[in-house]
């Protein structure tokens, strides 16, 4: 090994400030989209120059659920589907924190679907990063509510015959103020979207289409992780502001990506204070979080 290479290896990993290096190596498979997505979040946080003491990450269960365990932030690994209501409680108690929910499609949209739509409806100020790999990966590749029609999974050996959710449409129609979708190939655009989402006041949602070569691609004979990235390259269609009725994902179809929604709406805490003022006038002191009387 040349001296120059050794020097490079000694250099601090650029993400070290944001990762629990004492927990690396992580458990994710080679070519998984999660590494890229975590890098996108880390880069976004670095570029936003936020005080990292004031950023909290909450995850549910599954491959993506493990993200909270690798981010060097106050981080919570909760139960299956419940990251969002846990994050809601944390956010209301400490509204000054940036609360980020980082979880998978099965966790957020299947078992956690009810919490997802209601928290969007309330426009609670948090950012949801949903890594969609079309499958339950941690448990061995079972069908998910995002699995495209006809795609195979461990529990749909003859191909999936259920209609999948269109996540951007679901988020937007439930009340999200920011909705974007990118793939794990669109690293810069994804990072930019995460930055926008974190900066947005209200319920922001970023869907990340991510490769699972160990399960989804293997079961469906789609090749390696690299083949999936090539597929994203050849089949992603950037269409900002697209009609969300047109962004369904079919099996190996074109994937419409872009920023779909970016609107202003009072947040949950804005509305809470509005309601308090309406009822009590000057007697009401705006809620600012915490335990004491404000």
């Amino acid at each position: 090994m040349s001296a120059k290479v050794e020097e490079l290896i000694k250099e601090e990993h650029p993400m070290e400030r944001l990762l629990r290096m004492d927990r690396i190596p992580h458990i994710w498979c080679p070519t998984c989209g999660l590494g890229t997505t975590v890098t996108a979040l880390s880069t976004a946080l670095e570029q936003l120059q936020l005080d990292l003491n004031n950023v909290a990450v909450v995850s549910g269960i599954g491959c993506t659920g493990r993200v909270a365990g690798y981010m060097k932030l106050d981080s919570f690994h909760t139960t299956h589907g419940r990251a969002v209501p846990f994050a809601l409680g944390l956010h209301i108690a400490r509204p000054e924190l940036k609360t980020i929910v980082f979880s998978g499609d099965g966790d957020l949209i299947s078992i956690g679907g009810n919490h997802f739509i209601h928290t969007a409806r309330r426009n609670v100020d948090m950012t949801i990063i949903c890594v969609n790999n079309f499958i339950y990966a941690m448990t061995g590749g079972q069908v998910a509510p995002t699995t495209p029609l006809t795609a195979k999974a461990a529990t749909t050996p003859y191909g999936n015959w259920e209609h999948p959710f269109n996540l951007p449409l679901l988020a937007a129609s439930s009340g999200a103020v920011y909705v974007a979708r990118w793939t794990a190939l669109h690293v810069r655009r994804l990072t930019a979207a995460i930055k926008e989402a974190i900066s947005k006041r209200g319920f922001s949602f970023v869907e990340v289409i991510a490769p699972c070569s160990t399960l989804y691609a293997r079961i469906n004979k789609l090749g390696t992780g690299l083949d999936l990235m090539k597929f994203y390259h050849d089949n992603s269609v950037i269409r900002h502001g697209a009609d969300l009725n047109d962004v369904d994902i079919d099996f190996q179809s074109k994937i419409v990506v872009g920023k779909f929604v970016d609107i202003e709406k009072p947040t949950y805490i804005d509305c809470l204070n509005e309601g308090g003022k309406r009822a009590f006038g000057d007697k009401y002191k705006p809620y600012g979080g915490g335990n004491g009387n404000n």
Partner: protein
């Protein structure tokens, strides 16, 4: 720490048990309440929703009980005293994440206003049949703390006490009341704030980088870590080490789970609260909790009048179970009688701890109404033979 006078509705009031419970929680400094409507507990949520806006608290009606339980855990990690209330079916839904609260050692208070079960059962009528669910309803091994008020006054007092226990032992605490107490209206005297002593949770004084969320301590109670202070800590529902990092093996499991169990058992004598009357020299001791401990009174009076030596133990705390005390008594008395509005739940514990040293009797009842005191009297008479 004394209670904040802004929160305390000092004075004599005419309240039902649910309203009194809400006032107790508010007096204890509860500032976040997440709940889902369910009979017969809803009055707690309603009162909190009316009282919170002017004292800086947030009430939120969640989409379901799973969300409610998680929201209070999240808020508790945000440093805010949090609670929820529910009844039978909702309690079942909360069980998974009650377990998360135990595993993350998160202080909070959960009230179950018990109704008749199983399933939808008797929404508007009382029961005490969730006692074993309180003890074992979440999966895995753990210990719980559960309190059972018998009146609106005690609903107020035990709500304060529940918060104190949860902050002392850094864990969720259950208040297992019932429809009867919840909807019974009586005089409730709320003392001045300066007479309400509140326990403040111990936060770690260590610097970021040196503090861990489950630091080993002699008393087994780890100091809590505060979010936003640079600790950048991690907590997980997975089996973990003292850093909060997941460790998936048998050794870590033994350490983690035994500590959760030992934390309560080691402090059991401090936690257990029994109110005993005429127990010394008694031939028969009647044990009960919650509303049943009031229903036993006429039966005990009648039996005493007839010359039977009857003692009574009202269990203010049902969990942890007073194993030692029951074992002691079993050596001395002829019989122990458990009166509870179920078909024999806490009775099984009493029977186990008596180890055959005395007779044990159950006066059970499927719920829907309180016991007929005559049934209790008949059992006392039988037990005294």
């Amino acid at each position: 720490m004394k209670a904040d006078p802004n929160n305390v509705l000092t004075g004599a009031h005419y309240l039902d048990g649910n309203h009194a419970c809400a006032e107790g929680a508010i007096a204890a400094g509860c500032k976040f309440f997440a709940g889902y409507p369910i009979t017969p507990s809803t009055e707690i949520a309603e009162r909190v929703s009316r009282r919170f806006p002017l004292i800086g608290g947030v009430f939120i009606q969640m989409e379901d009980e799973l969300a409610s339980m998680n929201a209070i855990l999240g808020a508790s990690w945000g440093g805010v005293r949090s609670m929820s209330c529910t009844s039978g079916p909702g309690f079942s839904l909360m069980m998974e994440n009650f377990g998360l609260g135990l595993m993350l050692e998160t202080p909070c208070v959960l009230v179950n206003v018990q109704r008749g079960g199983p399933s939808t059962g008797l929404p508007t009528l009382p029961g005490q049949a969730d006692m074993m669910q309180a003890r074992w309803g979440s999966h895995g091994d753990y210990e719980v703390i559960a309190l059972a008020p018998d009146s609106p006054q005690e609903s107020f007092e035990l709500a304060v006490h529940a918060f104190n226990l949860s902050e002392t032992y850094r864990m969720p605490v259950l208040i297992m009341t019932d429809e009867c107490v919840g909807h019974m209206t009586e005089k409730v005297v709320i003392p001045p704030a300066e007479e309400i002593e509140l326990v403040e949770i111990r936060y770690s004084s260590k610097k970021p980088g040196e503090a861990w969320p489950f630091e080993a301590t002699e008393d087994l109670i780890s100091p809590m870590l505060e979010v936003g202070k640079g600790h950048k800590f991690h907590v997980t529902g997975l089996t973990h080490d003292e850093r909060g990092y997941p460790v998936i093996n048998a050794e870590a499991q033994a350490k983690n789970v035994n500590r959760l169990v030992d934390k309560v058992n080691k402090h059991a004598e401090e936690i257990i609260w029994l109110q005993e009357k005429d127990v010394e020299g008694a031939d028969v001791v009647v044990m009960s909790y919650g509303i049943s401990s009031r229903v036993v009174q006429p039966a005990i009076m009648k039996a005493t009048k007839e010359g039977i030596k009857v003692g009574q133990i009202k269990m203010v705390t049902v969990w942890p179970f007073p194993e030692k005390r029951v074992a002691e008594l079993a050596e001395k008395v002829k019989s122990l009688v458990m009166v509870e509005m179920n078909l024999g739940q806490v009775f099984l514990e009493m029977d186990r701890c008596a180890k055959g040293k005395c007779e044990t009797y159950l006066v059970g009842h499927a719920g829907g109404t309180v016991h007929n005191p005559e049934d209790i009297y008949n059992t006392i008479k039988e037990a005294a033979k």
